[in-house]
Structure formats: structure tokens, C-alpha cells
């Protein structure tokens, strides 16, 4: 690739102009639209019970979005958000504490490795017994499952903060507060965010699983019940909705990452481009 081509490629990736942005969007959505169209026409005359036409699935989805929005979709999202929030706050706080006190970390490590090895779904019956059927149980399961990747990545990130960075902090007598909030956590943020990314996917799994086990509401509950009652269009619609929600969560997360880690990309861009 010539130098010019590299420059052009870099510009395209940066996607600054509206024209470029439009082009990026088009390259990303033409295939989904095509597949959707194929699905629509191929399933139009479907007589199969298991694979209804896309049209009826979308009708079921529309019905779900209008009639069961407050009763099922909102609770699912609320529990997901709440569980994730608890995991993020406690994961970063405890991770930072352990990362900053290596002695404490070494003492806790075997226990943490053990707890982390327990699959989140394995806690469903336990939480069910403790909290009963309801939001608390789901939030607890999500918070537990999503906590580990964030906490472990925070520890890793904090432990790998550059020695020079610590030295600067020390020689300029930064307060403990400033050192943690303005130096250590930002330095560890690339790892923390990749932990959060894992946790988001994990918590989607956990919310659905918790709605299967014991629940009277939620998207997972709709899916399970409609499958049991052979309402295949509603079943597929809830699956479609889960996919879309997961996708939207990922896009939102990518945007947050884009803003928070702007400096990280900048530094990396510099060291890679520094060769020339």
C-alpha cells in the first residue's frame, strides 16, 4: 500500500465528513436489509407452524411493543440496567482497592478465583431461595455474574499502571483521591472497559435465564410462555427483540468507549505512526 493509500484509509476510518459517514452506514446495513428482504419473501407463504411468515412475526413484535412494553420490556431493561450498574460500581471500587493493595489481593486471590469459576446461572436457584421471585433475585444474579469480569480487569489494569506514572503522582504529592481518580483509574480504563464489554453480554444472558427460571414478566418469560403455547410468531418476535436490544446495547457501549478512550486511540495512533 502506498503512503497515499494509507493516508486515505486512515481518513476513511476516521469518518469525519458527513459523506464518509453516510458511506460507512451504507456499507454496514446493506447486507442485513438484503437478508431481511429474502426472509420476508421466502417466508411469505409459509404454512409451517414452527416457521411463520416474517410478516406475522413483525405483527407479533408490534403487539408486544405496544401491549407488553410496560409490563415486560421495561422490567427486563430495568433489572438489566440495575444489575449492571451495581456490578460496574462495585467491580471498579473493589478492583481498584485490590489492585492498589497487592498484599490484600494476594490474600484474596484464591477465593476470588474460586468464586469467579462459579457460572452466574448456577446462582439462580440460590438467589431464588434468598430473594424469591421478583426483581431483586434477577438483579442479584446479574450483578454477581457481571461483577467478575469488571473487577478482575480493574485489578489487572491497576496493577499494570506504568511505574513512571506512579512516580509522577508521588513526586508531585497528589492526594490519594486524585491519584486514584485522576491517574490510576484513567490509566486502567482500557482494561476496565473491556471488562465491562464482557459483562454487558453476560448480563443479557443472565437476565433471560433468570426470566426462564422463575418469573411472571420479562422478554425471556414471553419467549418461554409463547413457545409453550405454540404461539410461534410471538416466540420469534421476542427472540428478534432480544437480538435488537443486544445490538443496541453494543452500539451504545461502543459510543461510550469511543468517547472515554479517545486518548488511548490517540496514543496508539501516535506510536504506530511514529515509525514513518
Amino acid at each position: 500500500m502506498s503512503t497515499e493509500a494509507i493516508v486515505t484509509a486512515t481518513r476513511a476510518r476516521a469518518g469525519k465528513t458527513p459523506k464518509r459517514r453516510a458511506l460507512t452506514i451504507i456499507t454496514e446495513i446493506w447486507l442485513p436489509i438484503l437478508l431481511f428482504a429474502i426472509w420476508w419473501f421466502a417466508s411469505a407463504d409459509s404454512t409451517s407452524i414452527y416457521f411463520p411468515s416474517l410478516q406475522s412475526i413483525l405483527e407479533a413484535l408490534g403487539e408486544m411493543l405496544t401491549q407488553r412494553f410496560a409490563s415486560d420490556i421495561v422490567p427486563s431493561l430495568q433489572n438489566l440496567g440495575m444489575g449492571l450498574l451495581i456490578a460496574i460500581v462495585s467491580g471498579i471500587a473493589i478492583g481498584a482497592l485490590l489492585g492498589l493493595s497487592p498484599g490484600l489481593y494476594r490474600a484474596f486471590q484464591p477465593l476470588l478465583e474460586f468464586m469467579r469459576a462459579i457460572p452466574g446461572v448456577a446462582l439462580l436457584p440460590v438467589m431464588l431461595v434468598i430473594f424469591g421471585i421478583g426483581s431483586s433475585m434477577k438483579i442479584a444474579v446479574i450483578a454477581f455474574g457481571a461483577f467478575w469480569p469488571i473487577m478482575m480487569n480493574t485489578v489487572d489494569g491497576v496493577l499494570s499502571v506504568d511505574g513512571m506514572t506512579r512516580e509522577v503522582s508521588k513526586s508531585y504529592r497528589l492526594s490519594r483521591f486524585d491519584h486514584v481518580l485522576r491517574v490510576v483509574l484513567p490509566a486502567a480504563s482500557p482494561q476496565i472497559i473491556s471488562g465491562m464489554r464482557l459483562s454487558v453480554s453476560l448480563s443479557v444472558i443472565l437476565i433471560v435465564a433468570s426470566e426462564y427460571i422463575a418469573s411472571t414478566e420479562g422478554i425471556g418469560y414471553i419467549e418461554l410462555m409463547s413457545a409453550r403455547m405454540y404461539q410461534m410468531d410471538t416466540m420469534w418476535a421476542s427472540l428478534l427483540l432480544l437480538g435488537v436490544l443486544g445490538y443496541v446495547a453494543n452500539v451504545l457501549f461502543r459510543y461510550v468507549e469511543h468517547v472515554v478512550l479517545r486518548w488511548h486511540r490517540g496514543v496508539r495512533g501516535n506510536t504506530q505512526g511514529g515509525q514513518g
Binding site: D162, M164, T165, E167, V168, K170, S171, Y172, R173, L174, S175, D178, R182, V183, P186, A187, S189, W263, H264, G266, V267, G269, N270
Partner: protein
């Protein structure tokens, strides 16, 4: 009587007093002595260059002076205060600017960061002080940029501005210009001269560059040997203002340079 002695002592105390510093890493058979019995002073408004071959433990010495590393024996005093942890009247410019600046903070925020701990500074005062010191290193309009958007020389200027905003009485510089190109290096050397003229500070400059040590120093402390000791303290009586072309082409400069070089050669070779 007692009061008189104290007063007298305060009058003569240099800005920085280093007495009998030594540093040994490891113990027993694996013990490796890096620094052996180093003693010198640095006075007010004086620039002291510490020069020696690479690996001579210059950075170890600087870290002891900065309170970042505890010497095995000996003491460091900043005026009357025994240095056991980083003192408030001391700032450090590290060699590796790409690691010493925080890439997630803007240039302005980088300079302001150490000021947060200074008692009695309001947010506006912090901001103003940072802006002023950025201006004094010629970066008055770069405050909103990030360090990684700047060239190496400019990044080191930010690190210098950060140290200046801290308003130290002693400024330690650890090979500050070792990672920039020759042209930038001489620009930064001249910037150091301007800073010296403008601020009341004692500057300690650690370098392996003999020419730089003479050009910037009022005295040059030559270090060499294993463990490292002070070979000679060479006074540099070249008048200010000094400049890259005329000062460096004087006979006096050439002689001092040759002298320092021979001092390092005789003890290492």
C-alpha cells in the same frame, strides 16, 4: 544564644545539601553498590549539572534527591528539612515525557494536576498559574490539546511547564533532553536558560552530555566509577547570557568541555 545559632545556620544552609549518600541494591553476596559516598551542595539560583557516563547511577542519585528512593546511608536536606519523601518545594522533570505526562488529560489539565494538592489555591488561580507557565515555555495556545497531539519537544515543554507551575525552590531534571532531536534539544537548552533567568530556582540537571553540562551549568559535578563517586566539581565561569553559537565557540568553553571529558575518561578507562 541558641536562637543566634539557629539564625546563623539558616543563613548558610544551601538550597540542597547532599551528605554522604550511598545506595546499595540487594544484600549479602548479591549486593551491588551503585552510589558510594556522594557529597555536594547546590545553592540558591544555581544550576548544577551532574554528568557521568550512562549507567553511572545518575538517575538513582536523582531519585534519592527527589525523595522517591531511600538512600542506604547519608542524608539529603532541602534547606533545613530532611528529605524522606517527595518535598513540596521540589519538582521533577523526567526523561521520558511520553510516560510522565497523562495522555487522558489535556495539556492544561496536566499542568494543573499537581496544583490540586497545593493548599489555598482556588480553581481560578490554578488555571491561571498553569496558563502562565505554559506561556513561559511557549505553549500558551496549546492548553486544550492532548500531549499525544504534540511533538516530543513540545511534550517535554509541557512537563517543564508542569514543574514551573508547581513553583519549586529546587527543580530536578533527569536527562530531560535525551529523547529529542538535536535542534529541539538546543531550543530546550536555551529555554532552560530563560527559565533560570526568570524564576528563582535551584536547578539540578542530570545529563550524560558533556557539552550540555557545561553550557547549562554554573558548576559541573563529574561522576564516575563503580560504585559511582564524585570525581570533581568543576566551576563554570562563563558569563550569562550564554548562547549556542558564541558561547560554544569560545576557548573557555572548549577547555572546560575537554577538562570534564578527561575527568570522566581517566576514572572509567
Amino acid at each position: 544564644m541558641t536562637q543566634l545559632t539557629v539564625e546563623k545556620e539558616q543563613l548558610v544552609r544551601p538550597a540542597l545539601t547532599v551528605s554522604g549518600i550511598s545506595k546499595t541494591y540487594g544484600t549479602g553476596a548479591e549486593a551491588r553498590q551503585i552510589l558510594g559516598d556522594i557529597t555536594f551542595e547546590a545553592y540558591d539560583n544555581e544550576t548544577v549539572s551532574i554528568v557521568g557516563p550512562s549507567g553511572a547511577g545518575k538517575t538513582t542519585l536523582l531519585r534519592c534527591l527527589a525523595g522517591l528512593l531511600e538512600p542506604t546511608s547519608g542524608t539529603v536536606h532541602l534547606r533545613d528539612q530532611l528529605v524522606t519523601s517527595p518535598p513540596e518545594q521540589l519538582a521533577v522533570v523526567f526523561q521520558d515525557y511520553s510516560r510522565s505526562l497523562m495522555p487522558w488529560l489535556t495539556v492544561q489539565a496536566n499542568v494543573e494536576l499537581p496544583l490540586r494538592g497545593k493548599a489555598g489555591l482556588t480553581k481560578t488561580e490554578r488555571h491561571e498559574r498553569a496558563r502562565e507557565s505554559l506561556e513561559s515555555v511557549g505553549l500558551g495556545s496549546s492548553g486544550k490539546l492532548y500531549p499525544w497531539q504534540l511533538s516530543g519537544g513540545m511534550q517535554q515543554r509541557v512537563a517543564i511547564a508542569r514543574a514551573l507551575a508547581y513553583q519549586p525552590t529546587v527543580l530536578l531534571m533527569d536527562e530531560p533532553f535525551a529523547s529529542v532531536d538535536a535542534q529541539t534539544r538546543s531550543d530546550l537548552e536555551d529555554l532552560t536558560h530563560r527559565i533560570k533567568a526568570r524564576y528563582n530556582m535551584t536547578i539540578l540537571l542530570v545529563t550524560h552530555d558533556i557539552e550540555e553540562s557545561v553550557y547549562l551549568g554554573d558548576r559541573v559535578i563529574v561522576m564516575s566509577g563503580t560504585p559511582t563517586t564524585v570525581t570533581e566539581i568543576v566551576p563554570v565561569d562563563i558569563p550569562y547570557p550564554r548562547d549556542q553559537i558564541t558561547t560554544k565557540s569560545t576557548r573557555e568553553f572548549a577547555e572546560l568541555r575537554a577538562h570534564v571529558l578527561s575527568q570522566i575518561r581517566t576514572t572509567t578507562g
